[in-house]
Structures are given as structure tokens and as C-alpha cells.
């Protein structure tokens, strides 16, 4: 079991979701996050007070999958989020120790999908 964490551009959420659903990855948690990478944020100015290169709005996806879904999910995220410019985001993959479905108390691989 792996946990896929993807940080993507906010306007790419719809297309990433569509691509993930196309490879049968239908469960995910989505959060609004702020981040900074190589892409510079826009300068904000309030009554003359400047903040250059502030943090950017991004969307974070948390997706728990069984091993055979890891590669298809990664490919789907790239396909949905790719523009080729800085700011497209990152995908992190980490080992998942356990997964519990609360409604049935099932554990492990069966509880993921």
C-alpha cells in the first residue's frame, strides 16, 4: 500500500480527477494549500506595503492505493496536471503502514478501494 501525495495547480484539479477516474482511482482527499517552489508567487501590495513573491495557492491530493494502482495513478496525475512549465507541482509517494475502513473495521488492502 502506498500513499500518493500530489501538489498540483488549482485549475488542474478537474482534469486530474478525470484522468484518475479513467484508471479507476476514484477515492481521494482534496485540500487547499499554500506553497512555494521554483515558480514565484505574484507580488501583493496593500496601501503601498509590498510582499514580493508570496505563497501560491495549490491543491493537494491524498490518495491511498494498492501497489498495482501506483503507476497508473502517477501517470494519470501527470497527464492531467502537466503543462511543461514551472509550477506544475510534485508527486510524493510514501509507504502506507495501515489502512482502516471505519464503517466495517476492515484493515489493509481490502479497506483501500
Amino acid at each position: 500500500m502506498k500513499l500518493i501525495i500530489a501538489i498540483i495547480q488549482t485549475h488542474k484539479l478537474e482534469s486530474v480527477k478525470r484522468e484518475l477516474e479513467a484508471v479507476d482511482v476514484n477515492l481521494m482527499t482534496v485540500t487547499n494549500v499554500l506553497g512555494q517552489g521554483r515558480q514565484k508567487g505574484a507580488t501583493e501590495i496593500y496601501r503601498g506595503a509590498k510582499e514580493a513573491g508570496g505563497l501560491l495557492n495549490k491543491v493537494r491530493l491524498d490518495i491511498a492505493v494498492n501497489e498495482n494502482f501506483v503507476e497508473p495513478a502517477i501517470k494519470a496525475i501527470i497527464k492531467g496536471a502537466h503543462t511543461g512549465k514551472v509550477g506544475d507541482g510534485k508527486i510524493f509517494i510514501i509507504d502506507l503502514l495501515e489502512c482502516v475502513r471505519i464503517s466495517s473495521a476492515e484493515r489493509g488492502s481490502v479497506a483501500i478501494g
Binding site: 478537474e14 501583493e44 505563497l55 495557492n57
Partner: protein
């Protein structure tokens, strides 16, 4: 001079200002995505500033000044020369001429602001500014002269537009469609709705529009009299009918009625009754309101989706379509028993008035299309109307104004 009339029109003037800011600003502001809400508020506020100045400098004179061959006002009244506290009997015999001027200023302000709904979320601030100034000067001012100015050619042939169905709503609504088509869709539009970021704002804005519209419509009687009261009642009645009808259509068509539906229906009702409010009786206002809900619903929920143009906040679907229906409906339902200064319509055996109202529509639509097309091409060539792709993605608040409406942390 009549102090009662003066007090009412002064009050109405402030009510019509409220329609643009904050009414329309929050109605539209709630409908856009959170990254663009300040751009809408900014555009509305700046239109209020720019057109207030344009109007006193030369706009009022172009629209209402001494007639030049029925097509435009001469600049004799530029800078408010000859526009003083004595009444102008051609326009309003019982209030100061200067009050009539500032009341009309609020109409000139809200009209270009309505068009924002078509180009929301994707135009440069600089281009918006130039477009607004040119559009008001070359579309609104001449049209206001034709329909309302002494000697204006449409007024002379007997066209009826009590509070601006043609001058305000058809002109802005048709121009909105032209802009939506020329600008193209927002990135990611794909025939699927882009979700409103704050519907409570939109509902608040619609409610303020309803409230302010009493100044717009009942104030257009230019007196505190029975005609004003009738306009007030027909406005409220048609609006109520339209809001309820829209909710019923949704209930039947989608399975649930929605607050956005009621708010949209309310605005459509206000638009449709605008040209008719001082000429029709309250029972016929119910028909005007019910029918506008039906045809505007068709326009925004069915036709727009089929044709695929991105009239982002339905400026055409509500104001263009609703204003056209209201103008035609005036030709059907107007009656001299309500307003002796008006005319009888089709329902009272007068085909002639119905034909005049049709002509009003047939003249205004091509005029708005051609002029808006020309102005768009000029502004697009000089400045470029649309923001760069990346600016559109990041949002207009940050890229055009260097500020954000909402913080994520703190």
C-alpha cells in the same frame, strides 16, 4: 417646482447608485471564482467613478443636450453649462434640471457595469477602462438621446421605454453577447458551469438590486405621484412573479428549486418590467414577470449550453433577453388608463404601438452589435482585451490589482 417630487427623485438617485455599488458588484462578485472577486468589485467601483465624471463633463450633454438631427445631443451643456436648479420643462417640470441630470447619471453608470457579466474573469483592467469609456460615449449616450432626449428620433415616433428596458438592458445585454463571442471562453469552461464562489454575496446583491430598482423604476416617474406608485407596484409584482416562476421551473426541470434560481429570476423580472412599469397595470405585470422567467431560463440554461458561448454571468441571457421581452411586452400591455402620457398596446387594439416597440428592438440590436464590435476591435488593437493565459489562471485580483480577497492562513 415641487419639493415632494424633488425629495423623491433625490432619494431615487441614491437608490440607483446602490444598484451598481454594492448591488450589482456583489451579485456578480459572488458568481465568479474567489481569485477574481476583487476584479468585479473594482470594475463596478471604477465605472462609478469614471462615468460620474464623463457624465458631468460631456456625457449628459450628448444624451440630453440640444438635439442635433435626432441622433445626438450637442455639446452646449458640456461641463453642466445651462444645467442649473431651474427645471427643464421638456424633461421634468417640477424638479431642478440638475437633479434630472444626476438621476440620469446613475443610469449611465449601471449600464456599462451590467456588461461586466459577459467578460468577467478574463479582461485586462486597462482594456476594461478604455472599453467602458468608449462604449458609454458611443453606444449609451446616443441611444439615450434617441429614446429619451428631446428631439431624439425614436422618442419622436412614439417609442415607449419608461425606465430603460432598451436604453439600459437591451443595449448592455446585446453588447455583452458580442463581447462574449469575440473574447472567447474562459480557460477550462468546457460547457460546464464554473461554480460561484459565494452565493450569499449573490443573493445579497440581488436583494439590493430589487431595493434599488424602486428608485430606478418608480423614480423614473420623476415625480412623487400616482404614476410613481403604479411603477413601484408593477415592479414589485413582476419581480415576485419572475422569482417564483424561475424556482418552479427549476423544481420541475432539475428536481430542486435553488436560491441562485430565485435570485436570477428576480433580476430577470426587474429587467422585464423596467420599460413597462409606468404604463401597465399590476395584473399584467404578473404575466410580464412569469414569461420573462420562462424565456430567460431557456436562454441561460438551455440555449447557452447548446451554443456554447461563455456569457460568464449571463448578462445577455438575463438583460438582453429579458430587456427585449420587456420592450415588446410594453407594446402589448401598455394602456392609457394607467398612464395618459403613454399609449394603448396590442391588448387594447393598438397594433401601431406594438410595431413601434418592435422597431425599437430591431434598431437597437444591430446598433449595439456593430458599435460594440468596432469598439472591441479598437481596444483589442491598442491594448489587447484579454489577459495572458497565465494571468487568467492565477486570477485577475493578483495579476491586475496585486491583492487577494481572501487569505488561506491568518
Amino acid at each position: 417646482m415641487n419639493t415632494g417630487d424633488t425629495a423623491w427623485v433625490l432619494t431615487s438617485t441614491a437608490l440607483v447608485l446602490l444598484m451598481t455599488m454594492p448591488g450589482l458588484a456583489f451579485f456578480y462578485g459572488g458568481l465568479v471564482r474567489r481569485k477574481n472577486v476583487l476584479s468585479i468589485l473594482m470594475q463596478c467601483f471604477v465605472i462609478l467613478c469614471v462615468i460620474s465624471l464623463q457624465w458631468v463633463l460631456f456625457g449628459y450633454s450628448l444624451a440630453f443636450g440640444p438635439d442635433f438631427h435626432g441622433i445626438i445631443g450637442k455639446l452646449d451643456w458640456a461641463g453642466l453649462r445651462s444645467v442649473g436648479s431651474l427645471p427643464n420643462t421638456n424633461y421634468a417640470a417640477t424638479i431642478p434640471h440638475s437633479l434630472f441630470m444626476i438621476f440620469q447619471a446613475m443610469f449611465a453608470i449601471i449600464t456599462p457595469a451590467l456588461i461586466i457579466g459577459a467578460y468577467a474573469e478574463r479582461v485586462k483592467f486597462s482594456a476594461f477602462l478604455l472599453f467602458t469609456l468608449l462604449w458609454t460615449t458611443f453606444v449609451y449616450d446616443p441611444l439615450a438621446h434617441w429614446v429619451w432626449g428631446t428631439g431624439g428620433w425614436l422618442k419622436t415616433i412614439g417609442a415607449l421605454d419608461f425606465a430603460g428596458g432598451i436604453v439600459v438592458h437591451v443595449s448592455s445585454g446585446i453588447s455583452a453577447l458580442v463581447l462574449a463571442l469575440l473574447l472567447g471562453k474562459r480557460i477550462g469552461y468546457n460547457h460546464r458551469p464554473i461554480r460561484p464562489h459565494n452565493l450569499p454575496f449573490t443573493v445579497l446583491g440581488a436583494a439590493l438590486l430589487w431595493f434599488g430598482w424602486f428608485g430606478f423604476n418608480a423614480g423614473s416617474a420623476l415625480a412623487a405621484d400616482g404614476n410613481a406608485v403604479n411603477a413601484f407596484i408593477t415592479t414589485n409584482t413582476a419581480t415576485a412573479a419572475a422569482g417564483l416562476t424561475w424556482a418552479m421551473i427549476e423544481w420541475w426541470h432539475n428536481g430542486t428549486p435553488s436560491i441562485l434560481g430565485v435570485a436570477t429570476g428576480v433580476v430577470a423580472g426587474l429587467v422585464a418590467i423596467t420599460p413597462a412599469c409606468g404604463f401597465v397595470n399590476p395584473m399584467n405585470a404578473i404575466f410580464i414577470g412569469m414569461i420573462v422567467a420562462l424565456i430567460c431560463y431557456m436562454a441561460v440554461a438551455v440555449i447557452k449550453a447548446k451554443l456554447g458561448y461563455d456569457d460568464s454571468l449571463d448578462a445577455f441571457g438575463v438583460h438582453g433577453v429579458g430587456g427585449t421581452w420587456g420592450t415588446i411586452a410594453t407594446g402589448i400591455f401598455t394602456e392609457k388608463a394607467v398612464n395618459a402620457a403613454g399609449a394603448n398596446g396590442l391588448l387594447f387594439g393598438n397594433l401601431h404601438q406594438f410595431m413601434i416597440q418592435g422597431l425599437l428592438v430591431l434598431v437597437t440590436i444591430p446598433f449595439a452589435i456593430i458599435m460594440t464590435w468596432i469598439i472591441f476591435k479598437i481596444v483589442d488593437a491598442v491594448i489587447g482585451m484579454r489577459v495572458e493565459q497565465n494571468s487568467e489562471i492565477v486570477g485577475l485580483d493578483l495579476t491586475q490589482q496585486s491583492e487577494a480577497a481572501y487569505t488561506v492562513i491568518e
